[in-house]
C-alpha cells in the first residue's frame, strides 16, 4: 500500500512541477489556465491516493469531488476574465498585460 502511495505522490510532484513550469514560462493566458488545471489534477490525485493508502477512500472521494466543483467555478471565472481581456487587447498574450507595474 505504502509503495503505491509513494509512487502516486511521485507523479503528483511531477504534475505540479509541469503545471508550475507552464505558469512560469508560457505567454498565452489560456495556456496559463491549463497550467492551473494540471496542478489541480495533481492535487486531486494526491487526495485520492492518500485515501486509498489509508483506507479512507470514501472521505477522499468526497474531498476530490469538492475540489473538482470548486475548480469549475475558478476556471469559469478565469475564462470569463480572459474573454473580457480579449475584447480590450484583441490578444491572448500576457505580455500585453503590462499596464500595471506589479
Amino acid at each position: 500500500m505504502n509503495n503505491l502511495w509513494i509512487l502516486n505522490m511521485g507523479f503528483v510532484a511531477l504534475l505540479v512541477g509541469v503545471g508550475l513550469y507552464c505558469l512560469l514560462t508560457m505567454k498565452n493566458t489560456v495556456k496559463l489556465l491549463i497550467g492551473v488545471e494540471i496542478i489541480a489534477k495533481g492535487v486531486t490525485l494526491a487526495l485520492v491516493a492518500g485515501g486509498y493508502a489509508r483506507e479512507n477512500l470514501m472521505i477522499a472521494q468526497s474531498l476530490a469531488i469538492t475540489v473538482i466543483v470548486v475548480d469549475v467555478a475558478v476556471i469559469a471565472t478565469a475564462l470569463a476574465l480572459i474573454i473580457n481581456i480579449n475584447r480590450h487587447t484583441k490578444s491572448l498574450d500576457v505580455r500585453k498585460l503590462t499596464k500595471l507595474k506589479g
Binding site: N2, L4, W5, I6, L7, G10, F11, A13, L14, G17, V18, Y21, T25, M26, K27, N28, V30, K31, I34, E37, I38, K41, T44, L45, V48, A49, Y52, A53, R54, E55, N56, L57, M58, I59, Q61, S62, L63, A64, T66, I68, V69, V70, D71, V72, A73, V74, I75, A76, T77, L79, A80, L81, I82, I83, N86, S91, L92, D93, L100, K101
Partner: protein, 166 residues
C-alpha cells in the same frame, strides 16, 4: 497497469503544455483527465472517477473550447522557442529530485489504517456536509462572477478614469 496510467496522465499533461494549438492543448488535457479517471476506477474510487470524466473531461473542456473559439484568431501567441530545450532539462531535474526525495520523505511513515465505515453517500452527507455548503458557495460565486463580467449595461472604463497610472 497503474504505472501505465500514471505515465499516460503525465504524458498528456505535458502535451497540453507544449502543444502550440490551443484546441489540441485543451483536448490533450481532456485525455489526461480520462487517464486520471481510469486511475481512480483502478483505485476503487468510482465516484471520483465519474466526476473526473463528466465534469473535468466534459464540462471544463467544453468551457475551454468555448473560450478558445470566442477568442479565435487572436490565439496565436508567439511562445519562446527555447521550450524544446528548457523543458526537457527542467523535467529531468524535477524527476531526479523527485526520485531521490519522495521515497525518503514519505517512506518512513508507518501505514496507519483509517477507520471509516458506510457508503459513499453516507460519508459525504454525514461527515462532509459543510463542504457541500462550500460547494454551493463556490458555484454561486462562479455564476455571479460570470454574470457580473458579461453584464449588458456597458459601463466599463468608468473606474479607470483619470489615467492615474501614468
Amino acid at each position: 497497469m497503474h504505472l501505465f496510467l500514471l505515465i499516460g496522465l503525465l504524458a498528456f499533461s505535458v502535451l497540453a503544455v507544449l502543444l502550440r494549438d490551443l484546441l489540441k492543448s485543451a483536448i490533450s488535457l481532456a485525455v489526461a483527465s480520462i487517464f486520471l479517471a481510469l486511475l481512480f476506477f483502478l483505485m476503487n474510487a468510482v465516484y471520483a472517477g465519474v466526476f473526473e470524466i463528466s465534469v473535468v473531461a466534459g464540462l471544463i473542456t467544453v468551457l475551454f473550447i468555448t473560450a478558445i473559439t470566442l477568442t479565435r484568431g487572436d490565439g496565436d501567441v508567439a511562445e519562446s522557442r527555447k521550450h524544446r530545450i528548457i523543458f526537457p532539462l527542467f523535467f529531468l531535474v524535477l524527476a531526479v529530485v523527485d526520485l531521490l526525495v519522495m521515497k525518503k520523505l514519505l517512506g518512513q511513515i508507518p501505514a496507519i489504517q483509517g477507520s471509516e465505515s458506510g457508503t459513499f453517500s453516507q460519508v459525504l452527507w454525514n461527515q462532509r456536509t459543510f463542504d457541500l455548503v462550500g460547494q454551493v458557495g463556490a458555484i454561486s460565486a462562479g455564476v455571479l462572477a460570470v454574470l457580473a463580467l458579461f453584464r449588458r449595461d456597458d459601463m466599463h472604463g468608468t473606474a479607470s478614469k483619470g489615467g492615474s497610472h501614468e
